[in-house]
Symmetry: C2
Subunit: 362 residues, 2 copies
DNA sequence: ATGAAAGCGCTAACAG
DNA sequence: CTGTTAGCGCTTTCAT
């Protein structure tokens, strides 16, 4: 020690193998200016003499320079990214919400990270931690959640953790957590859509309508069942509890559920499937039972997935503003007032009336 | 200068507003160790005394510490991300390839960035530059490209630029650029699938088969047309040039194209649509013409998109190993030999025989 | 208008 | 096994 700061042998700079990324210093050297000046022309947001700027830009072009996003992010508060967390990328729901998210993120100069959880709570936690590490501006969780109290508490904790890390949690397609929780919620009217669809079937004369795909612990199907019931009640009708059938949002449940139902309750004239995917199974079961849709039994869905109009017959369903959901999620997360906590937006849904539901037979 | 390094007033550390992200130093202070030690327990890959490790871990938990991914990436050579670039997230092709990419990326400890180009060449360039900035490990370009020479040259340049930046370009679903180009290509057998499908139709007795959706300047439809032709030739048949119909991969082209065709050439007995999306339009046109499928005219597709089996009738099509394509893309990009340049893998396709193609009428 | 210098939060030699 | 010390590539005062 004590030797006054031996200027330390600088290793030959850039130890990497092949060609190497030029840095801001290389550009500076080539342009005959200081690194600070290069940084200023990069940022654009600072006065730099026309001539200097030109020199720097030429040097950048000649060196094929690109900034290092990590180094830049290290200084700033965020990494200019938006994270998109979903159970499964192949869900028919996903693509169009992703489209909205990506559109808006790009419009706001953000990159888009995608992660999946496959509905594993552990993985969900892990992914959210990853996003904290990345310091994403917004973390958008897509799809319905559980009704469960413990789950809700966990979400609240995650929202706070993200908030502390400077990120914003956005819940997309599920109900709010509460006003004191720093999260943005972009929901759509599950109950209203189900109400409208059920009213439509009721207006067509149907009275024995089955709801296929209830799930008590999940927010989405629960809200849809609520709308289903309310539509009955508003007409002074009481839905038959036996016709509200529990099951997952899968084609195979739709198939098995409808097959059994049609056997057990041949008096049913309409089947309101909780989702379009369920409806595909239901339609298959109807065909296999030798019944015609909509002549013998009406079938409807929910979601209006791509190609719903190409089913046999074209599916009458509830249309969700998928991509607007995604766009709103990003927009709200990025432009909230600095000190707002809870934010809540609910978008509307509308009926897509096609061929799979018709008037009551006879 | 000459003043011997005035030790400079340290600002009160952490100027941010609300709560603040604890850093490695905070953890170190709390655990009573040095930052380096904290880093070592973080990395896991270095001997640390059991007791020390425990102390550090407790401190991390108490502070709810997460590493700063940007700071970490600044040191390392890459950012542990894989970029996924696609024309449009809502394309039916996208979801399952994305699924494969995401799966494999996660398995390899990488995060997944998604960007869209909407087929705008400018945007494609911009996006690739963004990925250079991000220092993504792999940049996966999904979907067919143009046959165009200029376009190809541009790709070569991009491949080199990415290579210099330490990233790997992967072309997914398009032909190779050449052996000397540092890129990985994961393709599938477009021609073989079209050959198999055409042979299937020929074997069913069809002789007037239309190909709906040729496009000369794009690699994908061109390869499919090639398979279509070859299947004819191998049976000593010459495909009627008038029946190879130019058009985009859209439903509306499928509809208009088939409508006109059925009017102009009522002798056609089978329509091979270049994609399933085109097939949806074709099916609609067939229905609207008062014809039945497959009784009057057979219709087939290509891609085997989700729900192809739910069309009316269930669509006979060519199945592409979408998610394996995505998985292979990531796997190869990450595990290539350090000095390999061109890499090329071609996956197989297979027929999904369903109901929309039947034997020749009469 | 430009340059010098101090870090952002972390990792990685190099010494103990 | 643990602490010290340099930076990674960039932005940002503070001087000039």
């Amino acid at each position: 020690m004590s030797r006054p700061a031996a200027p330390a042998r600088r290793r030959p700079r850039r130890p990497r193998d092949g060609r190497v990324r030029p840095g801001i210093k290389d550009v500076a050297a080539r342009a005959g200016v200081s690194p600070a000046t290069v940084s200023r022309v990069l940022g654009g947001t600072y006065p730099v003499a026309q001539a200097t700027r030109a020199k720097v830009q030429r040097a950048m072009r000649e060196l094929d320079y690109v900034v290092n996003a990590q180094a830049r992010a290290l200084k700033g508060a965020t990494s200019k990214t938006v994270a998109f967390i979903v159970s499964d990328v192949t869900g028919p729901f996903f693509a169009h919400v992703a489209d909205g998210v990506e559109q808006q993120a790009t419009a706001e100069g953000r990159l888009c990270l995608v992660c999946t959880t496959h509905d594993e709570p552990e993985r969900e936690l892990a992914v959210i931690d990853l996003m904290r590490e990345q310091r994403a501006d917004a973390v958008i969780l897509v799809g319905g959640g559980q009704e469960d109290h413990a789950y809700r508490e966990r979400m609240v904790r995650l929202a706070r953790a993200l908030d502390d890390a400077g990120s914003r949690l956005v819940l997309c397609g599920r109900p709010p957590l509460g006003d004191d929780v720093p999260a943005t919620v972009v929901d759509y009217d599950n109950e209203g859509g189900a109400f409208a669809m059920t009213s439509h079937l009721l207006a067509l004369g149907h009275r024995r309508i089955a709801f296929m795909g209830a799930q008590e612990n999940l927010t989405t199907p629960t809200a849809r069942v609520r709308g289903f019931r309310r539509a009955h009640h508003e007409r002074g009708l009481e839905p038959d509890p036996e016709l509200v059938i529990e099951g997952e949002f899968t084609r195979s449940f739709g198939y098995a559920g409808a097959r059994d139902l049609l056997r057990r309750r041949p008096d049913v004239t309409a089947i309101f499937s909780a989702t379009d995917v369920v409806a595909t199974g239901v339609l298959q079961a109807v065909r296999d039972a030798g019944l015609r849709c909509p002549d013998d039994v009406s079938v409807t869905g929910y979601d209006d997935i791509p190609f719903a109009a190409d089913f046999a017959p074209a599916l009458t369903t509830v249309s969700i503003p998928h991509s607007e959901l995604g766009r709103a999620a990003v927009r709200l997360a990025l432009h909230r007032d600095s000190y707002s906590t809870g934010q809540y937006v609910k978008l509307g849904t509308h009926l897509a009336v096609r061929d799979s539901a018709g008037p009551l037979p006879h």
